[in-house]
């Protein structure tokens, strides 16, 4: 594309967006601003199957080099015939009990994240943990997992963990370390001057070791906690409200109306999986009348906000005002009507308060984000008290982690002590304060004054580099331990594999320093729980079961019975509420936001959290749920703010700025602009309190104006091979320990330079058809058939859509032929259904758009299960990411009115078409239909013509343009699932409905049936004997989904969950692009929301 053309293209501006919006009628979904404006470049881009350059080899290979390579491979090909079959078989000396080669085993364990555990089942294949599933019995998992748990297996095998125990860079032994620590501790009187810095700790046995062993022997040791991505405001706020530090537990499933003040209930926090499941259970399409209603006031677009029925975009600092406004309308004593806030916000608060107060006592729930100040938590407690929710939808327990309320404060004290020379030795466990400490603390300089510095961590990172001692920690999948969940339930962490890089963990180190040295972690943990079991409180337990049996059962179940925290009876302190009201009224004066006094909000990142997962390729390449950015963080702002700041909204490369680059040279990403995964965005310099940082700008509709959201965890200097270079920018440099979550006084100036973001947002465009169908409860009551009506297309506006087929009134009827036996859609004789009668099985999938929260766990779960490689940022910018399931995100509404914005998620795996376009064009029959109706993809047959992908209307096929799979690193081979072929270069791949799991279950069912028939001495009757139970096959995405939005099963079996669902909510069930007569097996349930009619100003419900 020449630069001339570029200039002539219609430029994206405010006017064109608005014109576009106003000129079209009905519901409109759009995915990016480019799309909305329908620039020429965009049109060209969506016409292409793969982006330009997608088939180019990155490295410049000369002809000579090519010939050399070719001749070498030819020579090798000739030789390959001569070698013996090769390979060794190395059996065990003794087979371990219970292990059958070739059969995977599952062990219950838990993953600690920011101190809190999520119960998991880890799959072990001959001693290698390869896949993580949720533990259905565990309170914070309920069978689901999040992205971090899914990606933890990759973290385990990360070759960058291989650092060894070193002192000043020289290898040392474990005994050297223990001796050194002992000497250091004895040198200091009672340990005075020895400081210990940890992250959040909930592990009961570790707490016991610290408090009853280490701090008993050395009482003068100072123990400090630091958790960069967790806030204690909730705990300290509740401490004020109720007089004692507390932690809340929500009963989301009992709440008819939920109001959230900047709390990402469904997306973050130690219980978000549970809350998501509970929330989805109240968004049941079968029980529309009892659907819960969710109001969210939030400072940046979160998964919770996307699912909200009404969402109000506010700056983080305005949330407090909003909370008091709602409190005022709820007539909380002493609350005066706060000044400020828009008229829209006032109406919102009034309606919400009305909705809350008219519902029955104890049937609503008001929640506050942990990042919000204490006053919000106090007033929210007062609101919940007033609404009778305490004890019903919200209950309180003692804080689960030790030293509650100290996490965000104590680092400052440590820095002061380091500066004053009080710290003689500092031992850091896992935390990475050199990177994560606030910019105002001067941690690094103070740290270097400490005479002895120890660091135990997974990686030799920024902090380890400045330490005398580096002690590699063991991953949770390779060491013993225990951890508590959000409700106090303890789980013993079982190792799945012997430590890959080092043999010890922190508990063993503490054991080594204690009077009982040389115990391994398993003994330490077991001893602790034995003592617990023998304590007077457990008399009842002791009378029922002996310890060994109890412990084994606890290991098996993945949780320890009787450890759940008891609900506390609490009483609201009226004077605390009054004090909070007074403080709010005296301290805060209302100021309109402006572009000269912006607000900045800091939040942990969806992919790398606080930076600890910065070397995990699966997480880095995971498209973030709302932005769809991979491999980067960005300054997220609203359209209006971006326009105010003079940011270009065009994501195409501007030729005049070719040399203007930010960190990664844009030129290395080629010369075509805005295509597929490549977004050229403006960069902006953010300055606050004399500190500044350049970040790329990403505009998110629905983001409040005059506030910029940035994500923690990027820009690491020593993360490892994957996460160190050019991966985002370090926003800790802007963050202070006094204002860690939001701060005012931010200045932002565009730099005039561009940055390339690898964004998967707009390169899977589906030509404006009604892919997501969204309606309301009220609308469904009026017209239960709205989903169908929407599909028969009255509202097409896109001239490209439907030119080959004009959908008519009768179309949908025809399509239902398969189920109802009506006339077929096609003029040609119906071969599909005759050829495949599907008497045995007919696998199908339903994805429920009402409950999907876009959390992306399915994407990473699929990656783990199916050996999907990571391709890197450069390849993503060429549209070559390999994820078999993607989550499309559509926006609806006016981008300039943040509060009108609705977003929709739609996971798209292979649709497993009955009449599959891909199968018809494959010249080598590498993709064919199977007897149970799957579109089999045969890698070994594929010659890489890519015809199938060209012909796939859903764009779900992925091609290995290059050798993406890492065959070189030994440890990376271990993460592969042995049941799935590892694909090489030049091979097409796609979702198979986890065919390996289907076939495994089939084999089991066949064996079961055969043996049963044999026992009963009769002929086998397949339809009776070899039944696969519904739920026996669970696809990886389905297993991970916390919302239960993915249902997989046998459509032939009338009693299967999927068949029942298809019948019960038939009016909600639709397939995408059904007018193409592809007859997808994967169908969708429409999205239904439950908006309050009083707030439905734009009210175009589909009725």
């Amino acid at each position: 594309m020449s630069s001339m053309n570029m200039k002539e293209k219609p430029v994206m501006d405010l006017e064109s967006v608005l014109n576009k919006l106003e000129s079209s009628e009905g519901k409109q979904y759009w995915r990016s601003l480019d799309e909305l404006a329908q620039g020429e470049g965009f049109q060209e881009m969506i016409q292409r199957e793969f982006p330009r350059q997608a088939s180019e080899w990155t490295d410049p290979v000369t002809r000579r080099r090519f010939l050399t390579l070719m001749s070498a491979s030819l020579a090798l090909a000739g030789l390959s015939g001569c070698r013996p079959p090769g390979g060794k078989i190395v059996p065990n000396i003794k087979d371990p009990d219970g292990v059958t080669p070739g059969r995977s085993m599952f062990f219950a364990t838990a993953m600690p994240l920011a101190g809190y555990g999520t119960g998991l089942l880890a799959e072990s294949n001959q001693g290698r943990p390869t896949k993580i599933e949720g533990n259905i019995d565990h309170p914070s998992s309920l069978g689901a997992t999040d992205v971090f748990a899914q990606a933890s297996v990759l973290g385990l095998y990360d070759p960058d963990r291989e650092a060894g125990l070193t002192y000043l860079g020289k290898p040392k032994s474990w005994d050297d370390l223990v001796a050194n620590l002992k000497a250091e501790l004895t040198k200091l009187p009672k340990g005075k001057g020895f400081y210990l810095l940890t992250e959040t700790i909930t592990s009961p046995s570790l707490v016991h070791q610290l408090e009853n062993e280490l701090l008993k022997d050395y009482p003068e040791i100072t123990w400090v906690q630091h958790e960069p991505a967790a806030s204690d405001n909730g705990i300290t706020g509740l401490a004020k409200a109720f007089g004692t530090p507390l932690q809340h537990i929500y009963q989301v499933k009992s709440a008819d109306v939920i109001l959230s003040f900047d709390a990402d209930l469904l997306g973050r926090g130690p219980a978000h999986l549970r809350y998501t499941r509970e929330f989805s259970s109240r968004r049941d399409l079968e029980k529309l009348e009892s659907m819960t209603r969710l109001y969210v006031a939030e400072s940046t677009l979160t998964n919770t906000g996307v699912k909200a029925d009404h969402r109000l975009a506010l700056r983080a600092m305005e949330i407090e005002r909003m909370a008091f406004l709602v409190a005022f309308h709820l007539k909380i004593e002493g609350v005066a009507k706060p000044k400020g806030l828009s008229a829209e916000a006032h109406l919102w608060a009034e309606v919400v308060a009305d909705d809350l107060s008219t519902k029955g006592k104890g049937t609503t729930l008001v929640i506050a984000g942990d990042e919000q100040p204490e006053s919000v938590h106090v007033i929210v407690a007062a609101i919940n008290d007033k609404l009778g929710n305490i004890g019903k939808t919200v209950s309180y327990i003692d804080p689960v982690h030790v030293k509650p309320g100290e996490r965000s404060k104590s680092l400052r004290g440590l820095v002061d002590d380091m500066n004053s020379g009080k710290v003689k030795a500092l031992f850091i466990l896992n935390a990475n304060p050199v990177y994560t400490a606030g910019a105002d603390l001067g941690f690094k300089a103070a740290f270097e004054k400490v005479p002895q510095r120890y660091r135990m961590g997974l990686f030799h990172d920024e902090t380890s580099r400045l330490c005398h001692w580096h002690i590699p920690d063991s991953h949770f999948l390779e060491s013993w331990g225990d951890v508590r969940a959000f409700d106090g339930t303890a789980t013993v962490i079982q190792p799945l594999i012997a430590p890959l890089y080092f043999g010890h963990n922190f508990q063993e180190l503490l054991g080594g320093l204690s009077s009982k040295p040389n115990r391994d972690a398993s003994a330490i943990v077991k001893d602790f729980w034995k003592n617990w079991y023998e304590s007077p409180a457990q008399t009842a337990l002791r009378s029922t079961v002996p310890f060994e049996k109890f412990f084994r059962r606890s290991l098996h179940d993945g949780l320890i019975e009787g450890t759940r925290a008891l609900t506390k009876v609490v009483k609201l302190q009226v004077e605390a509420v009054t004090a909070a009201i007074k403080k709010f009224e005296s301290s805060s004066e209302w100021k309109e936001g402006s572009k000269d006094n912006l607000e900045i909000t800091f939040r942990p990142d969806e992919s790398v959290f606080d930076g600890r997962f910065a070397n995990n390729g699966w997480l880095l390449e995971m498209p973030k749920s709302t932005t769809k950015i991979t491999w980067d963080n960005a300054a997220i702002m609203s359209y209006k703010t971006a326009l105010d700041l003079g940011v270009s909204l065009n994501t195409e490369k501007r030729p005049e700025l070719e040399d203007g680059v930010y960190r990664s040279p844009a030129s290395s990403y080629g010369y075509t602009g805005g295509e597929h995964g490549r977004a050229y965005v403006d960069t902006i310099k953010l300055s606050i309190q004399g500190r500044d940082l350049v970040l790329p700008v990403w505009v998110v509709p629905g983001h409040p104006d005059n506030t910029i959201n940035v994500q923690l965890g990027y820009g690491r200097e020593r993360a490892g091979k994957v996460g160190t270079r050019d991966v985002g920018a370090d926003v800790y440099k802007l963050r202070t320990s006094s204002e860690p979550w939001n701060a005012l006084g931010l200045k932002a100036v565009t730099t005039g330079k561009q940055h390339v973001l690898a964004c998967t947002q707009s390169h899977h465009y589906m030509e404006g058809r009604h892919l997501v169908r969204s309606g309301t409860v009220a609308g469904t009551k009026e017209n239960p058939k709205w989903v169908e009506a929407m599909g028969s297309g009255g509202e097409e506006h896109d001239e490209h859509a439907g030119h080959d087929h004009k959908p008519g009134e009768h179309k949908h009827e025809e399509h239902k032929h398969e189920e109802h036996g009506k006339t077929p859609l096609s003029l040609l004789p119906e071969v599909v259904s005759e050829k495949y009668a599907y008497k045995q099985h007919k696998w199908g999938m339903i994805i429920n758009l009402t409950t999907c929260t876009g959390c992306t766990a399915c994407v990473v779960a699929c990656q783990a299960e199916n050996n999907i490689p990571v391709v890197g940022k450069m390849e993503v910018t060429r549209g070559r990411e390999m994820h078999w399931i993607r989550i499309d995100r559509y926006f609806e509404g006016n981008p300039l009115k943040a509060n009108s914005l609705k977003a929709h998620y739609q996971p798209i795996p292979c649709q497993q078409c009955e009449n599959a376009p891909c199968e018809q064009v494959c010249p080598v029959a590498a993709t064919v239909h199977s007897y149970d109706g799957l579109n089999d993809m045969v890698y070994n047959r594929c010659v890489g013509t890519r015809y199938c992908s060209n012909n796939c209307p859903y764009k779900v096929r992925r091609f290995n343009f290059l050798q993406y799979t890492d065959y070189a690193s030994v440890s990376m081979k271990m993460v592969n699932n042995p049941d799935v072929t590892v694909r090489s270069r030049g091979v097409m791949e796609k979702c198979t409905y986890c065919v390996q799991r289907i076939r495994a279950a089939e084999i089991e069912a066949e064996k079961r049936g055969k043996l049963k028939a044999e026992r009963e001495n009769r002929a086998l009757d397949r339809s009776k004997d070899c039944q696969i139970q519904d739920g026996e096959i669970v696809t990886a995405c389905q297993a991970a989904c916390p919302a239960g939005a993915i249902v997989f099963g046998d459509l032939v079996d009338p009693n299967s969950k999927i068949a029942k669902l298809q019948k019960k909510v038939a009016n909600m069930n639709y397939s995408i692009l059904e007018e193409l007569n592809t007859r997808p097996r994967t169908t969708y349930l429409a999205e239904v929301r439950n908006p309050n009619p009083k707030l439905e100003t734009t009210g175009k419900g589909h009725g």
Binding site: G81, P84, P85, G86, G87, K88, I89, V90, P91, N92, I93, K94, D95, T100, P101, G102, R103, V928, S930, Y931, L934, D936, V938, Y939, N940, R941, D979, V980, T981, V982, T992, V995, Q996, R999, I1003, E1006, K1007, K1010, L1011, A1013, E1014, A1019, L1020, D1021, R1022
Partner: protein, 225 residues
């Protein structure tokens, strides 16, 4: 201008064209034939092993069942190679001084595994499952040949896809009663039909296929995932 090509060039052209076509097809056929030779498929080649373990001796001579060593064959996709412990079950009692068995004892003593050379090697994209074949009445012999007569094990079948499909298309060719799966010397004629006449593989296979309700699975994802 004189003719560039003499008259006989016509004939020569046809000869050359015919030669090229013939040569190319001969080469093609040769390649196909070559791919099926024992040399290319590694059939009938016995490799030297760390111990000269004789299946003939242990199976035919001593009557040890396949499953005594290959324990997981009925449960798992993989039929395991026995651990050293299995050898030592007997050889800690008999032939304790045998020189031939020194590597076994050493392995047991030192905890270092024996390293057997692999005979059967399927491609990585093939997911063969022993347990289902055994359960459905395919004898070990059908694929592995008369292992009970092998002094040193060699690969019996070609392990080419056509070789798999030959049976998958018509499983009755190899079906045998479940209780005869591990009987290396089983012959269909050992069993009688309902009318008292001895079975042939054709009659037995057809009968069993019906009784066991064996499907002909030739879908790609049956083996390739």
């Amino acid at each position: 201008m004189a003719q560039v090509f003499p008259r006989y060039a016509n004939v020569l052209t046809w000869i050359v064209i015919g030669g090229v076509v013939l040569g190319a097809s001969t080469l093609g056929v040769a390649a196909m034939v070559f791919a099926r030779t024992p040399y290319a498929t590694h059939t009938q080649i016995a490799l030297s092993q760390p111990i000269q373990f004789s299946h003939a001796h242990h199976v035919s001579g001593l009557g040890i069942d396949c499953r005594y060593c290959h324990t997981s064959v009925e449960e798992s996709g993989y039929a395991n190679i026995p651990p050293t412990k299995t050898c030592m079950n007997c050889h800690s009692q008999i032939w304790v001084g045998s020189k031939m068995l020194e590597p076994v004892r050493e392995s047991y003593r030192t905890g270092k595994s024996l390293e057997w050379n692999k005979i059967h090697r399927l491609s990585d994209f093939v997911y063969f499952d022993h347990s289902i074949h055994v359960t459905k009445g395919i004898g070990c012999v059908s694929c592995h040949g008369r292992v009970d007569q092998m002094q040193a094990v060699y690969q019996n079948g070609t392990l080419l896809m056509e070789w798999c499909l030959e049976c998958h298309r018509a499983p009755e060719r190899h079906l045998r009663p479940r209780d005869q799966v591990f009987n290396m010397g089983f012959q269909p004629k050992d069993l009688n039909q309902a009318d008292g006449s001895p079975h042939t593989q054709a009659t037995l296979g057809a009968e069993l296929r019906k009784k066991y309700d064996i499907r002909s699975l030739i879908e790609c994802s049956t083996c390739h995932r």
